[in-house]
């Protein structure tokens, strides 16, 4: 099953290329009651230990494919199923140090059945979790 928290414990790890850490990943679940098209997603902020990550360094991995964060709203044919995690994949030379990190993030999404004034009223709560890079 998934963690109840939006930020998942499983999947928090460095990503290496040829043995060199080039970034890290953190997995999130969708705190909603149905899946969404990727184009409905409205990414917010992501920070680790209080340091904000630049949007240009973030991709969202959905169904095994990575989409640069700035492009997610273009993908109206990619479906993020409710029980699948999405992975925020972050470019960062050397990755994160082994040990505990404070991860904070938020994101919302468009809900067309709500009045336009409340279009992105879901999911605005900031998510925080302290997790270990093993």
């Amino acid at each position: 099953m998934l963690d109840r928290e939006v930020i998942q414990s499983r999947g928090f790890r460095n990503v290496a290329v040829n043995g060199q850490a080039v970034g890290f990943e953190v997995a999130v679940r969708l705190p909603y009651y149905r899946g969404i098209w990727l184009s409905q997603l409205r990414p917010g902020h992501l920070s680790v230990d209080g340091e904000e990550i630049r949007e240009a360094d973030i991709s969202w991995i959905v169904n095994g494919t990575a989409y640069p964060q700035k492009d997610v709203t273009k993908h109206g044919d990619v479906h993020w199923f409710l029980l699948d995690t999405a992975v925020l994949s972050v470019k960062k030379k050397g990755g994160l140090a082994q040990g505990l990190h404070d991860v904070a993030l938020d994101f919302t999404w468009s809900a067309s059945y709500m009045p336009p004034s409340m279009d992105t009223g879901f999911g605005t709560r900031p998510q925080k979790r302290r997790l270990a890079i093993v």
Binding site: R29, Y33, W37, H79, F81, L82, L83, S110, S112, M114
Partner: protein
């Protein structure tokens, strides 16, 4: 199976009720077991919550779906889905795009054995007015709905009132087109006489509601209901919605179809939805006699 042809009022459950548990403490089969244990068979899913690989599940998953439906003796009643009119930022889906998506859902609903669809349309006002081209969208999909034997239903949901322009327009559409493939889903929340205070909300939002009697003239156009509820107490009274009044009216009017429980109360305490569903089904059985 056309639920309108099923004799009498039948009980069922929308899997929405378990949304605080699904994926965290309950899987699909757990919810099926729960529903069977209520002594009822009606089932609503939300397509993009309960069908892995939506909108194109694998054949293996579809076979597993039918195996589980048979195993627990359930009847797929309502397929909940959305036309996300604001799917792309900055523009509304065209009629053609909307119809194309709707046809995908109609085919998938039929493949999974559903006969009613809760077709949630995009909204353009604080009063929940649907997109201006809703008639064109529905008309564009009616031939497919007919071919696949499903009824599309907008959901009449608070703050919409039963006696309102919007509902009259839907009824007029049904009369004018004489279609059997577009009807209403009434969410009992429109008759909520006391306001539910969401956890964390500091004050009640005052909402208008419809008297139960306003349901009567609509019943011939109602294919299915969301038996919305918040809290059933130890004496089997729903605190916010007058179930006996609603169900007695429906019995008297000889309405036939499924009441699909939609638990909307506190969801983050494991086991609470299941317990509340059991209480609500006691309440409904007591009035319905079965």
């Amino acid at each position: 199976m056309d639920p309108k042809k099923t004799r009498g009022i039948r009980r069922g459950v929308s899997l929405y009720s378990y949304s605080g548990e699904y994926g965290v403490t309950m899987a699909l089969e757990d919810m099926f077991k729960d529903i069977r244990d209520l002594g009822c068979d009606g089932l609503e899913i939300l397509a993009n919550a309960h069908v892995p690989g939506y909108p194109k599940p694998t054949g293996a998953w579809v076979a597993e779906w039918h195996r589980l439906i048979r195993k627990y003796g359930l009847r797929p009643v309502e397929y909940g889905h959305w036309i996300d009119s604001r799917r792309y930022p900055g523009r509304e889906l065209t009629t053609e795009e909307s119809v194309a998506g709707l046809i995908v859902d109609i085919k998938l609903a039929a493949k999974l054995g559903f006969t009613v669809m809760r077709t949630k349309m995009g909204v353009i006002s604080d009063d929940l007015d649907p997109v201006a081209n809703w008639r064109e969208i529905i008309k564009g999909a009616l031939p497919t709905a007919k071919r696949y034997g499903v009824v599309m239903c907008p959901e009449i949901h608070n703050p919409t009132l039963l006696d309102s322009r919007m509902v009259r327009e839907y009824v007029d559409f049904i009369r004018e087109t004489k279609t059997k493939h577009f009807a209403l889903n009434i969410d009992f929340g429109v008759m909520m006489h006391r306001t539910w205070r969401f956890p964390g909300m500091s004050h009640d939002v005052v909402m208008k509601y419809s008297p139960v009697s306003d349901l009567k003239p609509l019943l011939p156009y109602v294919a299915v209901c969301h038996a919305k509820f918040y809290e059933v107490d130890d004496d089997f009274n729903e605190t916010y919605i007058d179930y006996p009044a609603i169900l007695e009216l429906m019995k008297k009017e000889r309405w036939s179809g499924y009441l699909l429980s939609e638990y909307e109360g506190l969801k983050d305490q494991p086991g609470r939805a299941s317990d509340q569903l059991r209480r609500q089904h006691v309440l409904m059985k007591r009035v319905l006699g079965r």
